[in-house]
């Protein structure tokens, strides 16, 4: 009998992907690591459950991210891997970059009713003070807040509201003048969007010790969602460019 062929490791160890984003996290990588290689910090203080590709249940230990496949394409099969997060789950990365014009894209499935503090992602410090950027639900709709440490403003979507198990894609811009704008698509449908807000001058830096945070701000309760992708891209390119920026 001949031995089977063994594939070599996925990546040559001496080379890494070159990301052209500020941050790009993909659930399919089954890692807290960004495409650029920056390792995230995951915390949860208790056990929690998930299901596998076949729908069988598993209890994850305290600090174990809940990698769970979901039916992202509505095919009836759990084909896409993501990170299931509850109100106690936190995933953060350092945010050493300054406030600047940027575009973001976040893909997730709602896994429970959003509350007034149900954050999707944020750039904020532990006290949620100083300059910050927060995408969160007000209990009904998603809103994007830009605070420059002195004054804050928020744009909030209206109309269609995400419900449990909805596949949600939210994208938005922080413009160079500090104004913000937000778009939302539910279950692959047409986008709804807000008007562009008034200007709100960018601060020189985010609040002291700010982190990029998925699912929570520094102080508020987390959301309950299954996350597939979070991407922040420099500048305000059109959506097609944001989608294909690696």
């Amino acid at each position: 009998m001949t031995a089977p062929l063994i594939p070599t490791t996925l990546d040559p160890a001496e080379l890494d992907p070159v990301s052209r984003t500020i941050a790009h996290w993909r659930g399919a990588d089954v890692s807290t690591r960004l495409v650029s290689g920056q390792l995230g910090t995951f915390t949860r203080g208790a056990t929690a459950t998930l299901v596998d590709t076949a729908g069988a249940a598993f209890t994850a230990a305290n600090a174990m991210p809940r990698w769970e496949p979901r039916d992202w394409l509505a095919t009836g099969l759990r084909t896409h891997m993501g990170l299931l997060m509850g109100t106690a789950d936190r995933l953060t990365w350092t945010a050493d970059w300054r406030p600047r014009a940027l575009a973001f894209l976040v893909e997730f499935v709602e896994n429970g009713t959003r509350t007034g503090s149900g954050t999707v992602f944020a750039v904020s410090n532990a006290a949620d003070s100083g300059a910050r950027l927060v995408l969160a639900s007000n209990g009904t709709n998603y809103g994007l807040t830009h605070h420059n440490g002195t004054a804050g403003l928020t744009v909030t979507l209206s109309g269609a509201q995400a419900a449990t198990n909805d596949r949600v894609t939210v994208r938005g811009y922080l413009y160079a003048d500090g104004s913000v704008q937000l778009w939302q698509s539910l279950n692959g449908g047409a986008e709804t969007f807000t008007a562009r807000s008034a200007a709100n001058a960018l601060a020189a830096a985010w609040g002291a010790a700010a982190l990029l945070r998925l699912n929570a701000t520094g102080t508020g309760a987390g959301g309950a969602a299954w996350y597939r992708r979070l991407k922040l891209v420099p500048g305000n390119p059109d959506p097609a460019v944001v989608a294909r920026t690696f």
Partner: protein, 266 residues
């Protein structure tokens, strides 16, 4: 219509039109040494075969309006072809190759290049892992009952996240067993873990390694917990694809979650 994606970017979005080197349909070439013996007709095959790195080659044309636009296109391509590159094909967008560019050439059909602007671009990307890998991994919950592990056309590794029952403590001998579709034992890893409640062990079948993670998220190397057996890889030869019947994994103690990406020669 997109043809080839380089790091999620269709080459068409870069301004290229694919001329040659379309999707790879076949598997790869295996080199297997044979030794001739006197008095024998034929040779004796080596027990192992060898496959070199996969080379993705594409030839594409671009239409540019000026020499400056051509230079901008070349710069954009050079940026894209930096570092480890993910390559996907439109006809199999859910499988990915990863490699580095070893050839990036561009030439015009006829000199002088400042009169004939449109370049023909040749790119070769060498992929150390010749396999195409599932973009989206799969997961299987493991316990005492053998759980089927669907496989691509090549063996794969992956990671098992091991805990006590319901994420409780685990300090008894635990065997991770891999069986073929006939039930015969093909691989076994024997562990003597010392997991506290809320902790988990990551068994990396690729590395291979054993890493303990505490409730505080602190990790440590616990390779010494391996007391017997050997790391293994589920392989397609252990299942029957046409019957959707596969090799299985089971645990003699505790609970596990196996996360892996299938690997394909095609």
């Amino acid at each position: 219509v997109p043809t080839i994606y380089l790091n999620d970017t269709p080459i068409e979005a870069l301004g290229l039109s694919l001329a040659e080197g379309g999707p790879l349909l076949g598997g790869f070439s295996v080199t297997r040494a044979t030794q001739s013996w006197q008095g024998r007709a034929g040779g004796i095959a080596s027990p192992v075969g060898t496959v070199g790195p996969r080379v993705v080659r594409m030839v594409a044309d671009a239409r540019v309006a000026s020499a400056a636009a051509r230079l901008a296109l070349m710069d954009a391509l050079a940026d894209t072809l930096t570092g480890l590159i993910e390559v996907r094909y439109e006809d199999a967008p859910d499988r990915v190759l990863r490699g580095t560019a070893r050839v990036f050439e561009a030439a015009v059909a006829m000199a002088p290049s400042w009169v004939n602007l449109d370049p023909r671009v040749v790119v070769e990307i060498e992929c150390p892992n010749a396999a195409r890998v599932d973009v989206e991994p799969r997961s299987v919950v493991l316990g005492a009952t053998p759980a089927a592990v669907p496989v691509g056309t090549l063996p794969h590794g992956g990671r098992v996240f091991l805990t006590g029952a319901a994420a409780g403590a685990l300090s008894t001998e635990t065997r991770l067993r891999y069986r073929g579709v006939s039930g015969v034992l093909l691989g076994e890893l024997v562990l003597l873990p010392a997991l506290l409640a809320g902790e988990f062990l990551t068994i990396d079948l690729d590395a291979p390694s054993l890493v303990r993670t505490t409730t505080a998220g602190v990790t440590s190397n616990v390779y010494g917990w391996k007391t017997g057996g050997a790391f293994f890889r589920p392989a397609p030869r252990d299942g029957v694809r046409s019957a959707d019947a596969w090799g299985t994994l089971e645990l003699t103690a505790g609970a596990g979650l196996y996360v892996y990406a299938r690997q394909w020669s095609t």
